[in-house]
Chain length 179, copies 2
Amino acid sequence: MKQVNIKQKNWDFFRPYFKQLVVPAKTIVLQEGKISRTMFFIEKGCLRTWVNNDGKEITTQFFFEGDSVSSIESFITNQPSLYSIESLEPCILQTILKNDFQNIIENSSELKKKLEAHLFKRLFQSQQLLYSFLRNNPQQRYDELIVKHPHILQRIPQHYIASYLGITPVSLSRIRNRH
Amino acid sequence: MKQVNIKQKNWDFFRPYFKQLVVPAKTIVLQEGKISRTMFFIEKGCLRTWVNNDGKEITTQFFFEGDSVSSIESFITNQPSLYSIESLEPCILQTILKNDFQNIIENSSELKKKLEAHLFKRLFQSQQLLYSFLRNNPQQRYDELIVKHPHILQRIPQHYIASYLGITPVSLSRIRNRH
DNA sequence: CTCATTTCTTTACAATTGTTATCGTTCAAT
DNA sequence: ATTGAACGATAACAATTGTAAAGAAATGAG
């Protein structure tokens, strides 16, 4: 896929420091409450971030080939991560340690700008997602997901998607069969 | 109030460029769809940001004395603002133009860092708010608001708060009287 | 292939929320 | 003082969602 190649080119700077990590499905690569010291680049497979809510897992995001994943807030501020990162499929990940990452960033104003642009983009996305909750009901959020992120629906089990939409699996099943 | 004074000290750098703006309640100082060229600092009064959703106004945030308000995304990227900014009370605002603001920022690495920290903080807040929608039902979000932002409840009309919580004014009234 | 796990659907019922409308109060402007 | 707009509470009804449980279908490991 083109998209993947374009994204992967952005990693080239880090490649000399990469260490490959192969994990089976349902493996937690960063646990909620721990401080993030690693950043992951997805070569193959997909992962999710999730938070624990009174024993119930709530999925907050999905990641696929070409994406980079980390608790960037924990990574930067040295605070415990508010969420876990877990593989949903068998994955091939490229990992880089915080120190190496920060050295590279510090020595390249170009990469520094890219990182800032990335953070800005995440702020924007997070805001858009929040607006979607304010504007739309679950039905409409599901319709929006179909249009904007069809690959998620094709690849991710529905009960993860349900919590991502802020509803129960039962309710999502009903929405789907309401055609 | 101490909080206000601390926040206002952060404006000192910009003061020579400030132009005062006094507006009555319910005045739109930035319209959705327009490109933001001004940043506002609140000396007195409060404002809200809101988006139009099929004719219905949805409030996305509230701002008070000491806060700075702008469509920062529009301000930085020159894209049309996704939301309007409107006064809820008569306000005394200090305004600064984009060019002046950016000149000051460019010439001070200290302020640049502060701006980055500010953006990072906004990302974090936006994420936390999103998590609140994923974790909690309207009742719980209201309880959370009582604890975290009691000043909002004391000062803002309830129908604005309702849309901020993602519910109707009727539903908020019911929640409140469920004690 | 078989068994166990995971995933999804369905049902019945309770609880919550949305919608529409009415009514009383407060507040600001004239 | 009077009027009109804004605001909040309430009622009645429809629609949606949550909860708990049961069962079918798909998936994966041995």
